[in-house]
C-alpha cells in the first residue's frame, strides 16, 4: 500500500500522506523514495500546475523522521549518509518547478518541518494541536535534512535559534508571527486556502513577505549583527548545558557556516555535524530515554491484559495544602477532570482553591488558555469541609500531613463515606503504603501515588501498589497519572520507594561532606558540573530540612547503619533552619531568592571550612552513594526494569539525562570497576560504601543492567 495518494483539483494536485498501519506519519527511507517518485511523476504531469501536500492523519501532520532507522546506524559515515539522503529529498522538493504548498494541521516536527521548510508555501491551522518544531537537539542531534540551513534563512537567525537550540515547538500563531508559515487559518478552511495559494503561486503570484522590524534587520540582516547573535547564543547555551550537551553548540556552528559561507557549505556542515553527533554517547543516551519514555506510555504497570482502568471524571483530594492544591490544579488543567478538595479547616480549603486557581491563572496569563477555558477549568475546582461530592469521585487522593496515624484515620473515614470501589490513593514520600492500608476494609483499592513537588512542574509520578492492590486500581492510577501529564513508574512498596531511596544516601553523603568542612558551594558546583540541575545542598534547602529529617529517620529505621543520617540535619533543625520555606538554610534567601551560601553553618557544625578540596573525591563519594543504593534497590526488586529505574531517576531527581540514568552510568563504568571503586571508598570512608551484592555478582559474572549491544 502506498503512503501517498494523489487527487487532482483543477490545476492543483493534492498529495495526501497517510502512512498505512501507523497512527502518525514519519519519514523513513521508503517514504522518501516514494515521495521522490511522486514528485518526479508530477514534474512531467502536464495538467498539474501546483501541488498541495497534506496529511491523512487526524490532528497530526508529520511527527518527524523514523527513529527506528536512526538507531541502527553504526558509524559516522552511515549517519552522514542518512543526513545526505534526507537533504537530497528535501532539495528535490525545493527544486520542484511546480510550487508545493503544505497544509499543516497537527504536529509538524523534525523531518516533517524540514520538509515543510523545503516546500514553497506553508499554511497551518490555529488549532492547539498544531505545533511546529525541530526537537532534534533533545535527542543530542541537530536538524539534519536541511532544516539547520533553511530555518534561519526563512525566519532569521534569532528565531531559528529559539526553535533549534532547545528543541522547542511553536503554535500556529507564533509561527505566523516569525514568518515560519505564510497563512494561519481555521482547520475547516485549511485545504481550500492551501489550494487557493497553490493556484496563486502557479499563476506566478508572490509569497507574503516576512516582517522583522529594525532591530531584526540589524541583528539578523547584517553579518556583524549575526556575529553578536552567534556569540550570545553560544554563551547562553554553554551556561545552560554546562558543556555537557554538544548538539546545540554544533547547531550554532552549522547555522553560522550556512549563513556566512553559503548554503552549499552549510549543507555539508550539517550532514557532518549530524553524523558525528549521532555517534556520541550523549545522543545514544538521549535516544534511549526517548524510547524508554515512549515505551512507558504504553505500560500500565501490570502484566498485559490484566486490570481495567476506570475512566476518571472526578477526583477527591483530602488535604488542601501545597500538595493537594498542586494535584487539584494540575488535574484540572491537564485532564479537565473535576477536582474537589476537602480539609477540616475551611480557611485552608480556600487557600488551597486559591493556589490551584493560580496555576490556571498562570496559563491564562501566558495565553496558553483562553479566558473561557480558564473560567471553565476554574469551575472544575471546588472545596468543602465535608465529604459531599466524594461519593461520585472515581479516585480520591489523600495529601494530608505525613503521619501514619493521621493517614490511617483518613483512610478509615474515606472507607466510611465512599463506595467500596472508589480508588483511594495516598500521597506519601516516606510511609509504607501497606502500613497505611492496614486494617482497611477494602485494601484492594488502596495504593500509593507519590507526586513530587511542585506537582504542576515535576514530571514524575510513582505509583505504589501493595501486595493487596488490585490490577484495576493500578491501571486506573497509572493511566490517570499519564492523563495529567506525568511519566509514571510502578514501584514496590519499600521505604523511600525508588526515587527517595536513591536520593537519600546521596543527600546524606553531602551532609557528611559538610561535616568535614567541604564548602557548601563547592559541593553543589561539583554536582551541577556533573550534570544535575541543582546540587545536593541546594536540594536539601528546597526539600526542607524537616522533610529531610523525617525521611532520613525512616530510611535509617528501615535499612540500618548503612543509612545513619548525617548529624548536619539535626544541627540545622536545632537552629530552626528549615531551608527555603523559612528562608533559613544552607543558603541565604532574600525575597524568596537564593543569594549566597551561609558560612555560619560551619560554626554550627563546629568545623572550619576547608580551603583545598579534592573535587574528584567529592564527586565520587556523592555519585557512588547514589549508584550503589540504586544497585541495592534493584537487587531488592524495588523497580520492575532498569528502564523504569533510569527514567525515574531522570524525571524524579534530575539525574543528568545525557548519562542515561544511574544504571546506564553503572553499565558505562562497568560493574568490576564500580565495585573496585566502592571498595576503595569503603576502606577510606566506611562501610556505607560496601558494594551492593548485586553489583559484586555482576562484577564476578561480567553482568550488565542492559544488553551490551545498546538494546533497550
Amino acid at each position: 500500500m502506498s503512503a501517498f495518494t494523489l487527487e487532482r483539483r483543477g490545476g492543483v494536485t493534492l498529495v495526501t500522506f497517510d502512512l498505512p498501519n501507523e497512527s502518525v506519519n514519519t519519514i523513513s527511507k521508503a517514504v522518501g523514495w516514494e515521495l521522490e517518485e511522486v514528485l518526479t511523476r508530477l514534474a512531467s504531469d502536464e495538467p498539474t500546475k501546483a501541488i498541495v501536500l497534506r496529511s491523512g492523519k487526524p490532528d497530526s501532520f508529520i511527527a518527524g523522521a523514523d527513529i527506528d532507522e536512526f538507531v541502527q546506524l553504526r558509524t559516522v559515515e552511515e549517519a552522514v549518509r542518512l543526513s545526505r539522503d534526507g537533504q537530497l529529498l528535501m532539495q528535490r522538493a525545493a527544486d520542484s518547478t511546480k510550487p508545493i504548498v503544505v497544509a499543516i494541521h497537527g504536529a509538524c516536527l523534525g523531518g516533517g518541518l524540514e520538509l515543510a521548510l523545503a516546500c514553497h508555501y506553508r499554511v497551518a491551522t490555529d488549532h492547539p494541536k498544531t505545533q511546529l518544531g525541530l526537537p532534534e537537539t533533545q535527542l543530542g542531534l541537530i536538524p539534519g535534512a536541511g532544516g539547520s540551513n533553511r530555518l534561519p534563512r526563512l525566519v532569521g537567525v534569532r528565531a531559528a535559534f529559539d526553535i533549534i537550540l532547545a528543541g522547542k515547538s511553536v503554535r500556529g500563531r507564533k509561527a505566523l508571527q516569525i514568518g515560519l508559515i505564510d497563512e494561519l487559518v481555521p482547520e475547516a478552511i485549511l485545504l481550500e486556502t492551501a489550494i487557493a495559494a497553490a493556484e496563486r503561486l502557479a499563476r506566478g503570484g508572490s509569497r507574503s513577505k516576512r516582517r522583522g522590524g529594525l532591530s531584526g534587520a540589524l541583528l539578523d540582516g547584517t553579518p556583524l549583527g549575526r556575529m553578536v547573535v552567534y556569540s550570545k547564543a553560544r554563551e547562553q547555551v554553554t551556561k545552560k548545558t554546562g558543556g555537557n550537551y554538544p548538539a546545540p553548540l554544533r547547531a550554532i556552528d552549522v547555522v553560522r557556516t550556512s549563513m556566512e559561507d553559503g548554503m552549499t557549505k552549510g549543507i555539508e556542515a550539517e550532514a557532518q555535524a549530524f553524523g558525528e553527533l549521532a555517534m556520541t554517547d550523549v545522543s545514544r543516551r538521549l535516544v534511549e530515554i526517548f524510547f524508554a519514555t515512549t515505551a512507558l506510555k504504553k505500560d500500565d504497570g501490570v502484566p498485559e491484559g490484566m486490570g481495567r482502568a476506570v475512566p476518571v471524571r472526578r477526583i477527591g483530594i483530602i488535604g488542601s495544602g501545597f500538595m493537594g492544591a498542586g494535584i487539584a490544579g494540575t488535574a484540572v488543567m491537564t485532564a479537565q477532570v473535576e477536582a474537589r478538595m476537602k480539609d477540616a479547616d475551611l480557611v485552608r480549603v480556600g487557600k488551597g482553591l486559591k493556589a490551584a486557581t493560580d496555576l490556571l491563572g498562570v496559563r491564562l496569563k501566558r495565553k496558553q488558555i483562553t479566558r473561557y477555558e480558564y473560567e471553565r477549568q476554574r469551575a472544575l475546582l471546588s472545596g468543602t469541609g465535608d465529604f459531599s461530592g466524594f461519593a461520585g469521585a472515581q479516585v480520591v487522593i489523600e495529601a494530608v500531613f505525613e503521619d501514619l496515624a493521621v493517614k490511617r484515620q483518613v483512610v478509615a473515614e474515606l472507607e466510611a463515606h465512599l463506595p467500596a470501589t472508589t480508588i483511594i490513593a495516598t500521597n506519601t514520600s516516606t510511609i509504607p503504603i501497606h502500613d497505611i492500608a492496614m486494617g482497611a476494609r477494602n485494601p484492594e483499592r488502596i495504593l500509593g501515588m507519590h507526586f513530587f513537588s511542585p506537582v504542576e512542574k515535576m514530571p514524575l509520578l510513582e505509583v505504589i501498589p501493595t501486595s493487596s492492590t488490585s490490577a484495576d486500581a493500578i491501571v486506573t492510577a497509572v493511566q490517570f497519572g499519564r492523563r495529567i501529564g506525568k511519566t509514571v513508574i510502578v514501584v514496590a512498596d519499600s521505604p523511600g520507594f525508588w526515587v527517595n531511596r536513591i536520593l537519600l544516601p546521596y543527600l546524606n553523603e553531602a551532609g557528611f561532606l559538610l561535616e568535614e568542612g567541604v564548602p557548601i558551594e563547592m559541593i553543589d558546583s561539583v554536582m551541577t558540573a556533573w550534570g544535575f540541575p541543582v546540587g545536593p545542598v541546594t536540594l536539601l534547602d528546597e526539600v526542607g530540612l524537616d522533610v529531610g529529617e523525617k525521611a532520613g529517620k525512616g530510611m535509617h529505621a528501615a535499612f540500618g547503619d548503612r543509612l545513619t543520617p548525617s548529624r548536619v540535619i539535626s544541627v540545622m533543625r536545632a537552629d530552626d533552619r528549615l531551608g527555603r520555606k523559612n528562608s533559613r538554610g544552607f543558603y541565604f534567601y532574600k525575597d524568596g531568592h537564593k543569594t549566597g551560601a551561609d558560612g555560619s553553618v560551619f560554626q554550627l557544625l563546629g568545623v572550619r571550612p576547608q580551603g583545598e578540596v579534592d573535587r574528584q573525591l567529592v564527586e565520587e563519594r556523592l555519585v557512588y552513594a547514589m549508584l550503589n543504593e540504586a544497585a541495592m534497590a534493584m537487587g531488592e526488586g524495588v523497580v520492575r526494569t532498569p528502564r523504569d529505574a533510569d527514567v525515574g531517576a531522570i524525571f524524579g531527581i534530575g539525574y543528568p539525562p545525557f548519562r542515561g540514568g544511574p544504571l546506564r552510568t553503572l553499565d558505562a563504568i562497568g560493574a568490576g570497576e564500580a565495585v573496585a571503586k566502592l571498595e576503595r571508598l569503603e576502606a577510606s570512608h566506611g562501610p556505607r560504601f560496601h558494594p551492593a551484592p548485586v553489583l559484586e555478582e555482576m562484577a564476578r559474572t561480567g553482568g550488565r543492567w542492559y544488553p551490551a549491544d545498546g538494546g533497550r
Binding site: G350, K351, L353, Q377, A379
Partner: protein, 432 residues
C-alpha cells in the same frame, strides 16, 4: 386542584444557597454568574446528582447585567453539566425565584422534564449604571459615523449634564413611587405603628440568629471563599443582627418620610447579594434514583393589584387563590413563610388575610386566615436574612421544605409580594 398524572408530581429534593450579604460588602466582587454557579455546583455535589441527568436550568434575576443577560445559561454551562442543557432566565420581580421553581414544576408535571435546577440570583453590588439617553444616542450615532469630523460633530452636542450616569432606582415605572414610599403609604393607610414594625423586625432578627446558631440555616448555605486569597470564608448571612434591640431599632430615623414616617432601615429588608438553587424532580425519577423528596409543589398562584393603590398587597389575592387551587384551607397549614420586604408590608398582608372587612373590600368570599406567629417565619425572614430579589423565592422553598420535614408538617405556604403590585403564593406538601 390540578392533579398530575401518577409519578409526575414535582418534588423538591434539596436546595443550596450562598450566604446572603449586604450589597457592597463581602460578595461585592462576585458576579451574578459566580454566585449562581457556586451554589448550583454545590447542590450537584451535595445531592451527588450526575450532571447528565439535568434537563433544564431555570433561573430568575431581576436586575441583570447587560453583559450577562441570561445568567441561567451560565449556570447550565457549568463543566459539571453537559453543554447541551438548555436554560432561560426570567423576571417576575421579587417572586422570580419562586416563579422559576413553579415553571419547573409545570414542566415536570406536563412530562416535558424530569430533573430541573431552578433558582435565582441578585448582585445589587453590580447593578448596571447607564449613560443618559442623549449620550447613548450620540455613542450609537458615532459608531456609525463615516468620518472623524462627523464623529467630532456628534460629540460636540454633548453637554456636561448628559455625562452624569444614571443608576436604576427601585421605583415603579408606572407611578414613580419607590418601594419604600409604598411601604410608608401602607403603614399609614393600614395604621401599622412604628413600634409594631420595630417589634416585628426584632423578631425576624432574633429568629434568624437562633436558626443560624442551631445550624438550621447553615445547613442550606454553602461557604463562599472570598477575598483575594480566597481565605475569607463566609458561612453566614451578614445581614442578621443578633444583638439588636427594640431600643436600637427605635433610634433609627425614617428614610422615606422624615417627618411623619415609620419605615426605617431597621424594619425593611436590606439590598442584598446572593443566590439560591433548588433541585426539582418528577416524583417517579426521584424514586428511581433513590432520592427522598422533601416536599412537593402542591399549587401556586400569582395575582396583581393596581400599583397606584397599595403596591405590596398582591399576596392578599394570591394566597387565597393558591389555597383554593391546593384544595386546602388556611387551617391545614402547618408552616407559613412570608417574604418580608418591609415590616409594614408583612403586617398589612396579615391584616388583609385575617379581617372580614378587608375580605369584603377585596371582594373575597371569605376571610383567608389568621396568622399564627408560632408557625410563621419561624427561621426569621428577609428583614434579617436579606433579600437578593430573585434568590428569595428559592430560599423560601428550600427553607420551608426543610422545616416541614423537621416538624413533620403536611402543608406549608409561601407568600411573596413583588414589584408592580404582584403577589405570589406557593403551597408545598410533605411527601411521605
Amino acid at each position: 386542584m390540578l392533579t398530575p398524572p401518577p409519578g409526575r408530581r414535582a418534588v423538591v429534593i434539596a436546595g443550596v444557597r450562598t450566604p446572603f450579604a449586604k450589597a457592597g460588602t463581602v460578595l461585592r466582587d462576585a458576579s451574578a454568574a459566580d454566585l449562581a454557579r457556586h451554589c448550583t455546583r454545590e447542590l450537584l455535589y451535595r445531592t451527588e446528582l450526575p450532571g447528565s441527568e439535568v434537563d433544564e436550568v431555570i433561573y430568575g434575576q431581576v436586575v441583570p447585567s447587560p453583559l450577562l443577560p441570561n445568567v441561567a445559561r451560565e449556570v447550565s454551562l457549568l463543566p459539571q453539566l453537559p453543554r447541551t442543557v438548555p436554560a432561560y432566565t426570567l423576571n417576575r420581580a421579587c417572586a422570580s425565584g419562586a416563579q422559576a421553581i413553579c415553571n419547573a414544576a409545570d414542566q415536570i408535571m406536563a412530562g416535558h422534564a424530569d430533573v430541573i435546577l431552578a433558582g435565582g440570583v441578585e448582585t445589587l453590588s453590580d447593578v448596571p449604571i447607564l449613560h443618559t439617553r442623549k449620550f447613548s444616542q450620540v455613542l450609537v450615532s458615532a459608531s456609525k459615523a463615516k468620518s472623524l469630523s462627523e464623529r467630532l460633530g456628534l460629540f460636540a452636542q454633548v453637554r456636561p449634564r448628559d455625562l452624569v450616569p444614571v443608576s436604576p432606582a427601585i421605583a415603579e415605572p408606572s407611578t414613580g413611587e419607590s418601594m419604600g414610599q409604598s411601604a410608608e403609604k401602607m403603614a399609614k393607610e393600614n395604621h401599622i405603628s412604628r413600634l409594631a414594625q420595630d417589634e416585628y423586625a426584632l423578631m425576624s432578627h432574633q429568629r434568624a440568629a437562633a436558626a443560624t446558631a442551631d445550624g438550621r440555616l447553615l445547613a442550606e448555605i454553602t461557604p463562599w471563599f472570598g477575598g483575594r486569597g480566597m481565605d475569607q470564608v463566609i458561612q453566614t448571612d451578614n445581614t442578621i443582627r443578633a444583638d439588636t434591640t427594640l431600643d436600637a431599632l427605635g433610634k433609627l430615623r425614617p428614610v422615606f418620610d422624615r417627618k411623619y414616617g415609620t419605615v426605617t432601615a431597621g424594619n425593611a429588608s436590606p439590598l442584598t447579594d446572593g443566590a439560591a438553587t433548588t433541585l426539582l424532580m418528577s416524583e417517579e425519577r426521584a424514586r428511581a434514583m433513590g432520592y427522598r423528596p422533601l416536599t412537593a409543589i402542591r399549587s401556586y398562584a400569582v395575582a396583581a393589584v393596581d400599583p397606584g393603590w397599595q403596591l405590596l398587597m398582591g399576596p392578599a389575592y394570591a394566597v387565597p387563590l393558591a389555597l383554593r387551587r391546593a384544595g386546602i384551607g388556611w387551617g391545614h397549614l402547618g408552616l407559613v413563610e412570608i417574604h418580608e420586604a418591609f415590616a409594614s408590608q408583612v403586617l398589612s398582608n396579615v391584616q388583609a388575610w385575617g379581617s372580614a372587612d378587608w375580605s369584603a373590600r377585596l371582594g373575597l368570599p371569605s376571610v383567608t386566615g389568621e396568622v399564627d406567629w408560632d408557625r410563621t417565619n419561624v427561621l426569621g425572614g428577609s428583614i434579617a436574612l436579606g433579600h437578593p430579589f430573585a434568590a428569595t423565592g428559592a430560599r423560601l422553598v428550600t427553607t420551608l421544605s426543610n422545616e416541614m420535614v423537621r416538624r413533620d408538617v403536611q402543608f406549608g405556604l409561601i407568600s411573596i409580594c413583588a414589584q408592580g403590585g404582584m403577589g405570589f403564593a406557593v403551597v408545598l406538601e410533605r411527601v411521605a
